[in-house]
């Protein structure tokens, strides 16, 4: 399957937050109690039960004195996913055929290392400390459907499709800035921006954590070190030999 992507176009979003509800509905996620913070934005952050949310910003521009931005936020589904690389449990985070980074709670050990590795800080956990985040509706996409949020979106602000095609369409439609196109091996969630990502409150220059990158480059040293030491010990035993139990030889040398 070609790599698929979710294209977010904040300029088209009307802020209905149907995507948030559809996500909860499809994934069977409980409501999370929040308080009125005097903003349209709710919930205030992603949680283990809020896989996506609309961030709301008021950023007046020269042409538009009352410019409202609604930016869908969720896991970026990185092409080079630090969360997958740091995860110590096999199969807890895996790559789906469409390119999405999917989780299997049954295999998650709840160590939360992925939470520290995600360059965007977008991983959340459930009550049992198991990884719990957007998986681009793995069960739906496997069955040939679009993610629930895309299905419900009335404005075209969320689109799901072939990654290259969506990117080409966005550029053709005049979006000068395709956020995520080249970051971290190319992300599976792309943002069609007309302004600098900073205006939309996006992370500038997300970077793969050096610690994770470096360790995965040298981790075979664990086998190598063990093997070499055992081999060196055996060699020492054969070539030089042990300290003898009897004292005779020692005396001869004196």
């Amino acid at each position: 399957m070609a790599r698929m992507a979710l294209l977010v176009s904040p300029e088209l979003c009307i802020g209905c937050r149907g995507c948030q509800s559809a996500c909860k509905e499809w994934n069977g996620l409980p409501a999370v109690k929040t308080v009125n913070r005097g903003t349209f934005e709710n919930p205030p952050d992603l949680t283990g039960a809020d896989y996506n949310r609309i961030r709301f910003m008021e950023v007046p521009s020269a042409q538009d004195a009352q410019r409202w931005l609604f930016v869908s936020q969720r896991c970026m589904h990185c092409g080079d996913a630090a969360c997958m690389k740091i995860c110590p449990s096999s199969g807890a985070l895996f790559r789906a055929k469409n390119g999405a980074v999917v989780f299997d709670k049954g295999k998650c050990i709840g160590c939360k290392l992925c939470g520290s590795a995600c360059p965007y800080g977008l991983i959340r956990f459930d009550q049992a400390n198991k990884v719990s985040k957007c998986h681009l509706c793995h069960d739906r996409t496997e069955a040939g459907l679009t993610p629930a949020c895309v299905k419900t979106c009335p404005s075209g602000a969320l689109k799901y499709g072939d990654r290259d095609k969506l990117a080409a369409e966005a550029s053709a439609a005049g979006y000068s800035n395709l956020y995520g196109e080249a970051d971290l091996g190319g992300t599976g969630v792309l943002y069609a921006f007309k302004d600098s990502p900073k205006v939309y409150g996006m992370l500038q220059n997300p970077a793969f954590p050096a610690e994770v990158h470096f360790w995965s480059g040298i981790k075979s040293l664990a086998y190598l070190g063990l093997g070499a030491t055992v081999a060196a010990s055996a060699l020492h035993y054969l070539v030089i030999g042990p300290h003898k139990e009897e004292g005779e030889e020692v005396k001869k040398d004196e």
């Binding site: 050990i109 520290s116 360790w215 030491t229 042990p242 139990e245």
Partner: protein, 201 residues
């Protein structure tokens, strides 16, 4: 057969095997975590239970490592001219020709140095392990993750060396960690300074 003398007490021996046992569980599960070894994880009942084994063994490891301080730290910190001489002779490990080594204390020079290195490595391993387990600070967790892995490699070198030196390389040494008793003659040859300090003749 000469008279047997007590080289190590029950506390020291039990603590050593707690350390060794926890180390084995930690290393085995560590390999499985680093390389996603499903077969090894299956021995523990899968990855989630293996995490519990790893963490609990980590506590046992940290506690017994700390307890070794009472048995070995003072002697490991006391260096003398004999230790320098022992080092210059490579502990007798570098040649087939076994020359007589300078008299040694409860631990020989190599054992003292090994102990100090192991104590340091174990401290880094414990501190980084508990940080990953219990702290939420991203920067600290990533740093600890790296240190934990790097020192895992160091341990994979240090442990086989220790096992080799305690068994094949020095026949008779393992008895110290089993019954704790060794023949006086043997002790005199290897730990002469200790034998006279203890007034064992």
């Amino acid at each position: 057969m000469s008279r047997m003398v007590k080289k190590a007490g029950a506390f020291e021996i039990v603590n050593h095997w707690m350390l060794a046992g926890s180390c084995l569980v930690l290393a085995l599960s560590g390999f499985a975590f680093v390389f996603h070894l499903d077969g090894v994880a299956a021995l523990f009942g899968g990855f989630p239970p293996m995490r519990a084994w790893h963490n609990i063994s980590g506590v046992v490891f940290a506690v017994s490592l700390f307890l070794t301080v009472f048995s070995y730290l003072p002697v490991s910190l006391s260096f003398s001219a004999d230790d320098m001489k022992w080092l210059s002779m490579g502990g007798g490990y570098l040649s087939r020709n076994k020359k007589e080594l300078p008299p040694q204390d409860k631990l020989n020079t190599g054992q003292k140095l090994y102990y100090l290195v192991l104590l340091g490595m174990g401290a880094v391993m414990s501190a980084s392990g508990f940080t990953i387990w219990l702290l939420g600070n991203k920067g600290l967790v990533l740093l600890s993750y790296f240190a934990h892995n790097l020192f895992f490699v160091f341990f994979m070198v240090a442990i086989p060396v220790h096992i080799y030196l305690g068994t094949f390389a020095n026949p008779g040494t393992l008895r110290i960690m089993l019954s704790g008793k060794v023949p006086l003659d043997w002790a005199r040859r290897r730990y002469g300074k200790w034998v006279s300090r203890m007034g064992l003749g």
